[in-house]
């Protein structure tokens, strides 16, 4: 029973990670596109400045709670995906350091180099993590001892790559709606154009992702409720953005990426890692979990910590609720949260 609860918790952390860090990835990818001057790029970066680090912790707790609640899953997944995870780590390092270091010197080669680190890192992360999550569902060669028997190329499954591409597209969409909500023109206008002109890409990908996910282990193509929610939400994102409902559009893109990730985990259960060698070798919620006492301890810990975390993380979004603006015409260029103007 508790291991089912913990599967939900792990899925919750992965979902939360993409809902939150997803827009950080999107902004990272887009910052050189929506920002032409250095100031404009910094506007985009500062829009996620207060949040990206706290959002990244969702990845850490997703991994750590896998280790605690499902050690076999953690062990098999992290050792199978070895080189892919190495790339993930390099991307995390490049991106993470770029936030802090980019603006530390005024040398344009320095900031350009860190901008590229931020962009490439932000693009690689949803892509690679998506491949990892997709591989869990489509299946990897795993033997009876739950050891991976394939090589690096076996990780690049078609479904995994498509999951990664879908999550990348959703992250970019999500980042764009965030910028529309949290910046002023010209960055805001450029972000809005990206949503309207390119939003059809994630829409098509989410639809195809739902169909493909269904087809993996069944004959039916009709999406289940959560997948349907994802499809409706991603379409709504573009529609709401076109109507100028900026907050609602961001809410829709959050729902779109969240429901997409959640649908993968729903489809995955009761397995946690599918073996393409034989379904008898699947890692499941039951056979991969820790014993009862450890799960009880972890449940108490999560029950104590999570509400508090959600409150103070939510509060930080409230503190920095106003838009980030660039320099005004007559005064000293000033970067930082400006007074709310226009739609909030």
């Amino acid at each position: 029973m508790l291991h089912t609860v913990w599967f939900v918790v792990v899925a919750f952390f992965w979902t939360g990670f993409f809902v939150l860090e997803g827009f950080d990835f999107g902004v990272g990818v887009l910052h050189m596109i929506v920002g032409r001057t250095d100031v404009e790029k910094r506007v985009a970066i500062n829009a996620i400045g207060p949040f990206w680090d706290g959002n990244e912790v969702w990845l850490i707790v997703a991994g750590a709670s896998m280790f605690a609640a499902f050690p076999a899953w953690y062990a098999t997944m992290f050792s199978s995906l070895y080189l892919a995870l190495l790339l993930v780590l390099v991307a995390l390092m490049a991106r993470g350091v770029s936030f802090e270091y980019r603006g530390k010197l005024t040398d344009s080669r320095w900031s350009a180099a860190w901008s590229w680190a931020l962009t490439v890192g932000s693009a690689l992360l949803p892509l690679l993590i998506g491949v990892a999550l997709g591989d869990l569902l489509v299946g990897l060669p795993i033997n009876a001892q739950h050891t991976y028997t394939g090589n690096f190329l076996d990780l690049l499954t078609g479904y995994g790559l498509f999951t990664g591409a879908t999550l990348l597209a959703l992250s970019v969409l999500h980042g764009a709606t965030f910028l529309v909500l949290k910046t002023t023109d010209p960055v805001r206008e450029r972000a809005r154009r990206i949503v309207l002109r390119l939003g059809w890409i994630p829409v098509l990908m989410v639809i195809w992702f739902s169909v493909w996910t269904r087809l993996l282990h069944s004959d039916r193509v009709v999406p289940d409720p959560v997948e349907s929610l994802a499809i409706v939400a991603v379409i709504a994102t573009v529609w709401l953005a076109a109507l100028g409902h900026e907050g609602a559009a961001f809410g829709a893109s959050s729902l779109a990426i969240g429901a997409t990730v959640a649908s993968l985990f729903i489809e995955l259960s009761p397995n946690v890692m599918v073996s393409s060698t034989s379904s008898a070798y699947n890692l499941t919620v039951s056979n991969a979990s820790s014993a009862h006492y450890a799960l009880v301890v972890m449940t108490v810990v999560a029950a104590l910590a999570l509400p508090v975390v959600l409150i103070y993380q939510g509060w930080s979004y409230y503190v920095f609720r106003s838009r980030v603006s660039g320099p005004r015409e007559t005064s000293e260029p000033k970067l930082g949260p400006a007074a709310s103007d226009g739609q909030g």
Binding site: D53, G54, V61, A64, F78, S79, K104, V309
Partner: protein, 473 residues
């Protein structure tokens, strides 16, 4: 492949732990500076807070990303071990994420961006939350590591043969944890205060009357924190040694290159030879009874020799070599302890100068202090080598050997690739970190730090000019 995996884990851990004590120690000191400003309202203290806060952030950036590597590495390279210990070890790691990392990472964003958005009291609470988060993070890691050194609070599941958590409180009352954690905290305070002292004295020496003058406050603060920290660190470390003699006698015996059981035991201050194949090193300096005191707390205490322990362990665990690398043990212990003694003397000198209000005028102290900043990094590294190497050949003392813990599906080629990548990336990041620390450590303290958030345009000057208020991105 196990050897490569060990090299990699040692490399990434040592590198990560270059930055962690700075985060914990300097973070605490920055919180103190901001508290002082909150109380006395003097602009000098605000400028110092933001000055050292910038150095803290430059350091935290690398500390965080190198920490991510550690979490992933457990599963990537040591999957067999992870599967085996996860029921016990995974818990503290998850607690670390939920209690410590969320706190530290959320509030650091609030602190960096919240200078003019938050009421002063709330903003001050933010940096304290960061400091507490960092200290909590160290706590959970030490709980986990201490369990590897001295497993407690578990039972062995008879069908799987794996340890299972049976009493979480035992993890917190583990003697290895209590003394080890306090020791790490104190070592972090030593590190942070030596970093602050190095920068402060350099600034004081460069311009004692003008821009450097406010640094006498931070110099004084660092000395006041350094003195009790280094003295207590040595005392706690000594007590940790006594605990380890009880639970990991091989570790301590190897650290003393003590091949034969002795009672009483002399402390070997300097020897030649004494590696794992040399059972009779040449003692150059020996201090009678000191090892008995250090290891057992009593004048005539017995310390079991490596040869005797090896025999006992073979009977208990089967054939194998149970003696850790003696050369690393012996010298890492001494590098750590001798440098600590040196720093303790240095700190006392500083304290005497502070007492006489003569620190800013002491030519020699101001000259030496910047160089002292190297020592805590050597001590911290030596300390971890001592404890981790001393646990070998065990990955979990008495339960699993290191050779048994590596991932079975990961090839040597893959580890060579990852080790190379980490070394290259870490060198690049380290170079960037050093460049920025030097540049921002030498920056002139100015009134522009009074106004928050970023950007201000820089006056046109040839590349590399330091932006004015560097706290926002």
């Amino acid at each position: 492949m196990v050897d490569l995996a060990r090299w990699q884990f040692a490399t990434t851990s040592i590198y990560h732990f270059l930055f962690v004590p700075v985060t914990i120690g300097l973070g605490f000191l920055v919180a103190l500076l901001q508290t002082a400003w909150y109380r006395n309202g003097r602009p000098e203290y605000l400028r110092l807070t933001r000055f050292f806060g910038t150095l803290l952030l430059i350091n935290v950036a690398i500390g965080v990303v190198t920490g991510l590597v550690q979490e992933f590495e457990f599963g990537m390279n040591w999957a067999t071990w992870a599967r085996y210990v996860g029921d016990v070890f995974g818990g503290p790691l998850a607690m670390e994420g939920l209690f410590a990392f969320f706190l530290e990472s959320t509030f650091i964003g609030l602190w960096v961006f919240g200078w003019e958005r938050l009421p002063r009291r709330v903003h001050l609470a933010c940096i304290w939350c960061v400091s507490i988060g960092a200290a909590l993070s160290a706590m959970f890691i030490m709980i986990a590591n201490s369990w590897m050194q001295h497993p407690v609070g578990y039972t062995i599941n008879h069908s799987t043969g794996q340890p299972q958590l049976s009493n979480v409180w035992d993890l917190f009352t583990n003697g290895t944890f209590i003394w080890g954690y306090v020791h790490v905290l104190l070592a972090s305070l030593v590190t942070g205060s030596l970093v602050m002292l190095a920068v402060s004295t350099w600034q004081l020496r460069r311009d004692p009357g003008g821009a450097g003058a406010p640094f006498r406050h931070s110099a004084r603060l660092s000395v006041i924190v350094l003195v009790p920290s280094i003295v207590l660190a040595m005392m706690v470390g000594s007590q940790l040694g006594v605990v380890e003699t009880k639970y990991q006698p091989m570790k301590i015996a190897a650290a003393e290159a003590q091949w034969e059981t002795c009672k009483p035991c002399s402390f070997s201050a300097f020897q030649i030879g004494g590696g794992s194949n040399d059972h009779t090193p040449s003692q150059i300096i020996e201090i009678p009874h000191l090892l008995s005191l250090l290891a057992t707390g009593s004048w005539n205490g017995e310390v079991k020799g490596l040869s005797q322990l090896q025999g006992e362990y073979e009977k208990r665990y089967g054939p194998g070599n149970y003696v850790p690398d003696v050369f690393i043990q012996y010298w890492s212990m001494r590098v750590m302890a001798y440098l600590a003694s040196l720093i303790a003397l240095f700190a006392l000198w500083g304290a005497w100068l502070v007492h006489r209000d003569g620190l800013a005028r002491s030519r020699w102290f101001l000259r030496l202090a910047p160089w002292a900043v190297i020592t805590p990094f050597l001590m911290n590294t030596a300390g971890w080598l001592l404890t981790e190497n001393g646990r070998q050949p065990w990955i979990v003392q008495g339960l699993m050997k290191t050779v048994e813990g590596a991932s079975r599906s990961v090839s040597e080629t893959q580890v060579i690739i990852s080790l190379t990548v980490f070394v290259l990336v870490y060198l690049l990041l380290g170079a960037a970190d050093l460049a920025l620390m030097l540049r921002y450590g030498r920056r002139e303290l100015s009134g522009e730090d009074d106004h928050s958030s970023g950007g201000g345009e820089d006056s046109p000057s040839p590349g590399g000019h330091v932006p004015v208020a560097a706290l926002t991105y």
